[in-house]
Symmetry: C2
Subunit: 625 residues, 2 copies
């Protein structure tokens, strides 16, 4: 390494040598692991080498420095390159690098934020760029800091619609602080990509989406260097560097050859490759630290005063309206930000948008980018609330799943749930959202029934970590709780006492259950009514006590398919069998059509009449306990 | 109506009058319903009028005629226009049109296939066009029939990434039999769209995505007419008509005004509007019937001979490999088609692709389009099998949800499920797919554990209606069943008898459960092992019998989050409380990392050791029955 020892680490020749080192290390760690993507790392090695040696501003010792640039591997399978980069930066040792993909190592198959220098989990393609848009949007519009967001994308992932949602929003919001680096190595997992090396296809698309394309040879360090320089000179647009690269670059036996995706080199081959690449190096790159710019508009240090809305018992208020009101109140907290999918006048996020236009982000009808923006803002420490119709979060389920792996702290609020929405029909009815959100690691699922409860839960959401979901209702419903009451997450409320059976409901069906309980009381049947506003975590204790008191007669009622929602949450809570129970689950079992909300609730068998009927039948039965 | 009575229905003046009628009827039916989207219908009325009067080839009396064109309302909220069109075509009466959105009417808020002239449910924006791509692909590559696919899109939905997946695939596959009609009325739900009337943005994007754009005034019937003519003259590309339109066109009080999305006109206003639009008309359009072209390559009439693969008991075979083998065998059925998201060498769909390249469709990494293509082919009566990693179906959940509403018959096969995949880490591990797919109306969820079982189930999938999902496993696992055995959907298999407890598992955990049962037997504990290969519908009878026989001691084991999967399916089956049970649910409860499959199964507490330990503890306990 005598040549490089005499080089300043900012010299291009150093970057060239560094690129070779990154290749060698990508091979070494993946061959040691016996799995991984060395060839996909080798194609992008020069792009990363020039970046970290000459452009990236990052203090590896202080990954939380707010002035740091962000570098996101949207092509998460280039993890060997990412970890080789950490070694070159001195963030990890060579020995740790060699633990790649081993059990217990933080250097997993795809990067996750268990590593301090990783912002978000990637590996589901087409997500790193949309999240980068969220980070860049925070940088430009909220932090107002000069950090730059660099995102390495593969070419296969350019087929994902989410990538074009991201380019679109990057262009629309003129995110000149974002540079996407497209590693066009021509080969996907199972052969040539859709457009191979036809770089012009990408150039024209990127340009049409409002971004500034630069086409280069991705192995020409001078060209790379010039492109990054251009990217940093304000164009008023995001830059997209379209780099023609060679998969497996640097090792002649596999360069540009099919059949080498996600395959490691056998030891003998690795040895030849390392030799051809100039042997093992231990160059240390001195990444420039960010200038200690003062943070933009200083955040308010005094504790913000949040005055939640209050609703009178005689009022009828939709929980989605209460969400809007409460979000507006939370606006007093400077870290609270909101985004919506062009339905803010329905979700009522528009109240916040009008009061705090600088902290509201319109994502139009692009739900993947909606959730990705929330994740990006979570990376920057904000408290994002993202809203759309509950049904349309299903569009972003992969992003929500990955946000769980990313340890992101995001709040999702879905309005217009269930058949209760009425005339619009099944396409607009969320009937699977509780199942979908419960099955996310560490998630919280809330489903309030009245306005005061909603306001309190929205306030709790602001302080809750993880993926926190709230389901709201379209129609105005009676206010059943006083404004002073508390609703801890994980709790429930017994709204009516009774020992003949327990009716467990939440949201719209809670009101139907209360009506049913009135009817039943007239007939001498005392129904306990439990408001399960916290669907996850669930209040197992109260449910078990109810089973105990009622001889195990439990009736669950939900405006949701029978699978995965409230009924299942209750069954899980009672699964230990300590208190045997017969759980009758009322849910939507046939495909609904259009009609008035009351007609559809009746047709689905989840209105007061059907609840009362099911209760009568359940009370008449014996639980074989 | 004296003017129009003298007009041939193919005259442009007739089309102009028809457009006015469609507007009037859109107002009439939505005002009567008190809900709906008249203004979004009025903007597209001239586009539809010219189409049905002069270009569409469709026999309204024979909606199943294979030669019919397809007309899909991707902007499903223009349902008043759609139903007004049905009236003009004589498909429904004026009286039925006026039942719009009423309970029991087939004319729902958004079109669904309960109506014979509707191919698929729309209303979740950005889906009609991707599905149209699937239909057009079938027309060009499978049916080889001259029918044309016409798709009406709104401008707000152009923000959805799925639209760009669709344009991309339409361009890539040169679907000149597809015409997208973009109704650019400038106004979305809550104000101006992202690009308003900047038509050039759309033109450049569409062109960059390989389609042929035509920009017109969407109220100039001559221009519309010319554009449709151009669309039908083979350009070798799909045509995209970018029509500048006015929301609420024809009624001066609301034309191009904000605040009128999804709002109906009050009766007095409707009266003024109808007057301004020239009053109520009852023009009948004579849509041209398709020429009775002989169907393309005649489908084979003799019953196809499917020879399923068989595997020997001593073999170790991955269920994903068995899927590939079985799909190849099903290739003998000419209606079976397959598509994959650029991972066919992992899902093993590549075996089919090689043998039947004409019936295999590469969708690259665009899972929304992957599922949409399957739905489109289902519209044409094919039997599609779509495959990718199980985790990545979460990208298309909204499409799967809508496919359920569309009554589509599609088969989804997800490989690489759970922590068992090992080194690649959590981004590639499906841990929510069972929950996600169970919560789809009328779905079937299968999870085989061995190769012979997989082959049999794949064959059953071909004949199964609805959304049919199969989860396959990455690793080669022992063949536990003979090749002659049958596995009816809805059934289960007791692989080992025992009355001390029942262990319920499927897929990878079934093998761990068998190992555990061996260990337990050595200790004198007899575990009944149930293979729950049909997770939905579930074999409740066998589960109840197991609870009965084991004193209610049930242990479920799944490579999935604890919510919504096998554990919940079992709890549901036992929910009637007839046989009290203590159900201990082993599942993945902490975020996994990378490692060897065995290490990760152990870390998640779902390997043989943990199963045995949980079994011991369960057997030691008493169920308070």
């Amino acid at each position: 390494m005598t040549v490089t020892e005499t080089l300043a680490t900012t010299d291009l020749e150093f970057a060239r040598q560094l690129g070779q080192q990154l290749r060698v290390d990508s091979i070494r760690c993946s061959t040691a692991a016996g799995s991984g993507h060395p060839t996909s790392s080798m194609s992008a090695a020069d792009l990363i080498a020039v970046l970290i040696a000459r452009y990236l501003q990052y203090d590896w010792a202080k990954p939380k420095d707010p002035n740091n640039d962000h570098l996101i591997y949207s092509k998460g399978h280039a993890s060997p390159l990412c970890y080789a980069m950490f070694k070159a930066a001195g963030a990890i040792t060579d020995a740790e690098m060699m633990t790649f993909r081993k059990f217990g190592s933080r250097l997993q198959g795809h990067p996750t934020p268990v590593i301090p220098w990783v912002d978000v989990a990637t590996g589901s393609l087409g997500q790193g760029l949309p999240i980068s848009v969220g980070v860049a949007l925070a940088g430009k519009n909220l932090d107002k800091l000069p950090y730059h967001v660099w995102t390495l994308c593969g070419d296969s992932e350019l087929a994902e619609g989410s990538i074009w949602e991201a380019f679109d929003k990057a262009g629309h919001y003129q995110l000149s602080n974002l540079t996407a680096i497209l590693d066009i190595n021509r080969l996907g997992q199972r052969g040539e990509t859709e457009y191979g090396w036809t770089l012009d296809v990408y150039r024209r698309r990127v340009e049409a989406f409002g971004c500034f394309p630069i086409v280069i040879d991705g192995h020409d360090v001078t060209a790379i260097d010039r492109a990054y320089g251009q990217a940093l000179s304000a164009t008023g647009k995001p830059t997209v560097i379209i780099a023609k690269t060679i998969k497996g670059k640097g090792f002649s036996e596999i360069e540009n050859k099919e059949g080498w995706h996600g395959k490691t080199l056998p030891p003998d081959m690795a040895e030849r490759a390392i030799k051809e690449l100039g042997g093992i190096r231990h160059l240390k790159v001195k990444t420039a630290k960010p200038e200690a710019t003062p943070r933009g508009p200083k955040r308010i240090e005094v504790a913000p005063v949040v005055t939640l809305p209050v609703y009178k018992p005689e009022d009828k208020v939709a929980t989605r309206k209460a969400y809007g009101d409460a979000l507006l109140a939370l606006g007093a907290i400077p870290d609270v930000v909101a985004m919506d999918g062009e339905v803010s006048n329905s979700t009522h996020a528009d109240e916040f948008a009008k009061a705090y236009p600088d902290r509201f982000f319109e994502m139009w009808i692009a739900e993947q980018q909606l959730v990705a923006t929330a994740v990006g803002m979570s990376v920057r420490g904000y408290k994002p609330f993202a809203s759309t119709f509950a049904a349309f979060f299903s569009r972003a389920y992969d992003f929500i799943r990955m946000a769980g792996i990313s340890e992101a702290n995001i709040r999702l609020v879905g309005s217009h749930a269930g058949v209760e929405i009425g005339q619009d029909g099944p396409s607009q009815m969320a009937l699977e959202d509780l199942a979908m959100l419960r099955a996310v690691h560490g998630s919280t699922v809330l489903y309030p029934c009245d306005a005061n409860q909603t306001a309190k839960l929205v306030a709790e959401m602001a302080d809750r970590d993880g993926i926190v979901y709230m389901r709201t209702t379209r129609a105005a419903t009676p206010v059943v709780y006083g404004a002073g009451e508390e609703f801890p997450i994980g709790g429930s409320r017994v709204l009516r006492e009774g020992d003949d059976l327990a009716v467990v409901a939440a949201g719209i069906t809670l009101h139907e259950s209360l009506k049913a309980a009135e009817q039943l009381a007239d007939e001498g049947i005392e129904a306990r009514v439990i408001d399960l506003y916290s669907v996850k975590p669930v209040d197992a204790e109260t449910l078990r006590a109810a089973a105990e008191a009622t001889g195990g007669r439990i009736l669950t009622v939900e405006d949701h398919w029978p699978e995965g929602g409230i009924g299942d949450a209750v069954l899980e809570a009672l699964s230990d069998g300590e208190t045997p129970a017969r759980v009758v689950r009322l849910a939507v079992r046939e495909m609904p059509g259009s009609g008035k909300p009351a007609e559809l609730l009746a047709a689905a068998g989840i209105d007061a009449e059907h609840i009362a009927a099911a209760a009568r039948s359940l009370v008449g039965s014996t639980v074989s306990a």
